[in-house]
């Protein structure tokens, strides 16, 4: 009995001592929710951190601090000297890169972030048009916590498939993969608002090009399947009904878009691929003059939409071939289906630039609204 008592005391003491190992009391730490990196002179980086401080009595405060140093940990020490509370990076949600730094290469910054166990791999990465410092330090009228604001902005757009998904994990996966590149959304300060302004293409950790936000839909369609999305199209009026819409453009909008994308290697020797997109949607908006109950017309319209999407997709594909950034997974598919010989980075870069892709889009308008 005595022995058991001694053991119980020992065990209990262990339990209590473990509780004291590393205290992190919420009121005594500053939570870094967002960090933005920019290029500074002499190989240094400027890190701008958004720090949220919880205060039990007053409203919680958000602070933006910026420091320049050669390593990111160095900037953190410097920022620490400026804040009244100990900094903790465990709640970090977004990592921003200034455009200049992105063009110089963000591989090192990503590597540093991955080495830190405090930071989760589900944080979002994005590029800022201009410098991230000016984006973060601007006093927005309606935004109290710029860190949380940017996180929510990116988060819901990625979840709704409006912009490319850019979690740290995906970026690292594609960055170290020899046959794939990654893309990040571009943020831009427009007056009093922050908006997503396009997609930045990367190749080997360097930003090599960008496309405007209007192309997001097509880029995402080539990357993955859509579960639900909306698309607005401008069709050539003549292709639908020459008598009514001559020289006129016809605006239509479709929603509940469901797509299925598949890439097939047709001929590895000739470097030929098939990109098949199965596109199902609901017609939502159209000129009231168009008699949409006419099946022939619907067929015509499907064809026109088909043509339009094919054109856009091939334009975007040509652009990415030109800048040599395979964010769609052609390389992965090639490696998965062609045996023999490791597909190296160099080899795939050459192949990707010259590959031929047959784009087949199959549009089907499933239904329209409740009124014809």
């Amino acid at each position: 009995m005595k022995k058991i008592k001694v053991l119980i005391v020992l065990l209990l003491s262990c339990l209590f001592i473990i509780g004291c190992a590393n205290q992190r009391i919420l009121e005594r730490i500053g939570l870094v929710t967002l960090v933005g990196y920019d290029v500074a002179e002499e190989n240094k980086v400027t890190a701008t951190s958004v720090i949220r401080q919880i205060n039990p009595e007053l409203q919680s405060k958000v602070e933006v601090q910026s420091e320049t140093e050669s390593t990111s940990k160095g900037t953190r020490v410097k920022v620490d000297m400026k804040t009244s509370k100990k900094l903790a990076a465990g709640q970090m949600r977004v990592l921003l890169f200034g455009e200049d730094l992105a063009k110089k290469g963000i591989e090192e910054a990503i590597h540093t972030t991955m080495m830190n166990n405090e930071i989760s791999t589900s944080i979002y990465l994005a590029v800022v048009k201009g410098s991230s410092k000016s984006l973060l330090e601007y006093p927005y009228k309606d935004v109290t916590d710029v860190g949380q604001h940017i996180y929510n902005l990116i988060d819901h757009n990625i979840k709704q498939q409006h912009t490319v998904s850019s979690t740290l994990h995906e970026v690292v996966r594609d960055n170290y993969s020899e046959v794939r590149n990654f893309a990040l959304p571009i943020l831009h300060k427009k007056g009093e608002f922050i908006e997503i302004d396009g997609v930045a293409f990367f190749s080997h950790g360097k930003m090599v090009g960008s496309l405007p936000a209007g192309d997001n839909f097509y880029i995402l369609m080539m990357q993955d399947n859509f579960k639900e999305s909306t698309l607005e199209l401008v069709l050539d009026g003549e292709s639908i009904d020459a008598s009514k819409f001559q020289e006129k453009q016809l605006q239509i909008a479709v929603d509940s878009v469901k797509t299925k994308r598949s890439i097939k290697v047709v001929d590895p020797e000739l470097n030929e691929f098939d990109l098949n997109i199965d596109f199902k949607c609901r017609l939502l908006e159209i000129n009231s003059l168009v008699p949409i109950n006419d099946p022939k017309l619907v067929e015509k319209m499907e064809k026109a939409v088909n043509q339009k999407i094919e054109n856009e997709v091939s334009r975007i594909l040509e652009y990415s071939q030109e800048i040599n950034s395979d964010i769609y997974g052609f390389g992965e598919q090639y490696r998965a289906h062609v045996r023999g010989g490791k597909l190296t980075d160099q080899k795939w870069r050459e192949k990707f630039r010259e590959m031929k892709v047959n784009i087949n889009v199959d549009v089907e308008i499933i239904r329209n609204g409740v009124f014809e």
Partner: protein
């Protein structure tokens, strides 16, 4: 055969419990990061290596049990003494005790490293070691039946992690697995070889076998346990392969833990921290079983009380923890352990089986005359 064990019925355990014991003994610290070494060798065919390694384990277990079944009631130590005599058998017993101690040490050292890297960077190693060792002492002094109980609870309370394991599939690219068999056979076998550190643990039956109530049923449960661990390892490696890119796995030290960092549950944002702390319950049976196996061996040299043994053992381990500090040293130690384990667990049982069956044939021949 004077080396035979006298085990009373109330000390024996039900054969079905072997399932939990073997599963608990196999799953330990290796599963945190085995993807890295296996993928380095076998590329995207790493999952085939895992199956192969498990297949070898099945064969070895089959041989082990055949060897043990040659004796009515004896463990590996007794068999050594019977076949090789007092001196050479003693040396072999001593080697096996050292192996068990090394296994114990390797588990505790790796776990402390994980705690230090992921959860508490500044917590002293001796403190974690002491906390773990006290737990082991507590369980160990309860006797074998308590140890088996620990295994059972560790198994049952750890099952929820399996559900979480499949959540990262949201980011899966399934074509990472293709082309199947794109790597040559040699590299796949090499990959299987590098599974050693992760898959060992089932050799506990060497010492536990005489304690089974119905010896004939043991084999079935041990094979079932191996199948279950195969299922776990296979799920982990398949999820990792589709989730990570190949070069990324090679750079990730503890791929299983990194896998968990992407999961955000509504009530907890960093699941991996909870999982790492919870892992203490999963490695506890490892520690208990290895120390128990060492105890059975030491007992053959000198009759020693259980409590005295575990205290001396724990103090020894506690001080042995001090010289190895850096990651490179731990990596070297792991590689060294894997090499030794390969010979002791995967190669030696075949030799022993040949010797033991020769001996039994000779003995039968002798008694006929």
């Amino acid at each position: 055969m004077k080396s035979a064990l006298q085990i009373s019925n109330d000390q024996k355990i039900s054969s079905s419990l072997f399932f939990f014991v073997v599963t608990a003994a196999q799953i330990g610290v290796g599963i945190h990061g085995f993807q890295r070494v296996v993928v380095k060798n076998a590329g995207n065919d790493a999952w085939i290596s895992v199956i192969l390694a498990s297949l070898f384990a099945h064969i070895v277990v089959f041989i082990m049990i055949r060897t043990l079944a040659l004796y009515p009631s004896n463990d590996l130590y007794g068999i050594h003494l019977d076949i090789f005599g007092k001196y050479f058998g003693g040396i072999l017993n001593f080697t096996y005790v050292l192996y068990c101690t090394f296994a114990f040490y390797s588990v505790i050292r790796n776990y402390i490293e994980v705690i230090n890297t992921w959860v508490f960077p500044n917590l002293s190693q001796s403190f974690i070691a002491a906390a773990l060792l006290i737990l082991v002492i507590y369980a160990f002094t309860g006797g074998l039946r308590v140890l088996v109980g620990v295994c059972f609870f560790s198994f049952m309370t750890g099952l929820w992690i399996l559900i979480i394991l499949f959540m990262p599939l949201e980011y899966a690219h399934y074509n990472h697995i293709l082309p199947i068999l794109g790597n040559d056979l040699k590299s796949i076998f090499k990959g299987a070889y590098s599974m050693t550190f992760t898959i060992v643990g089932f050799e506990i039956i060497n010492t536990l076998y005489p304690f089974a109530k119905e010896k004939k049923k043991v084999q079935k449960y041990v094979h079932l346990a191996l199948l279950f661990t195969l299922f776990i390892y296979l799920s982990v490696i398949l999820v990792s392969l589709v989730y990570f890119s190949e070069a990324q796995i090679e750079r990730t030290l503890w791929a299983t833990l990194t896998l968990f960092t992407v999961i955000k549950l509504p009530f907890i944002e960093r699941v991996e921290i909870i999982i790492i702390c919870f892992w203490m319950i999963i490695i506890l049976p490892n520690l208990c079983l290895f120390s128990w196996a060492a105890y059975r061996g030491v007992k053959r040299f000198k009759s020693i009380n259980e409590t005295t043994f575990i205290w001396i053992f724990s103090i020894f381990i506690f001080f042995a923890n001090i010289p190895i500090q850096t990651r490179t040293e731990i990596d070297q130690m792991n590689n060294f352990f894997a090499k030794i384990a390969f010979y002791i667990v995967f190669i030696y049982p075949f030799l022993l089986y040949i010797m033991a069956s020769l001996k039994s044939v000779l003995r039968k021949g002798g008694s006929k005359e």
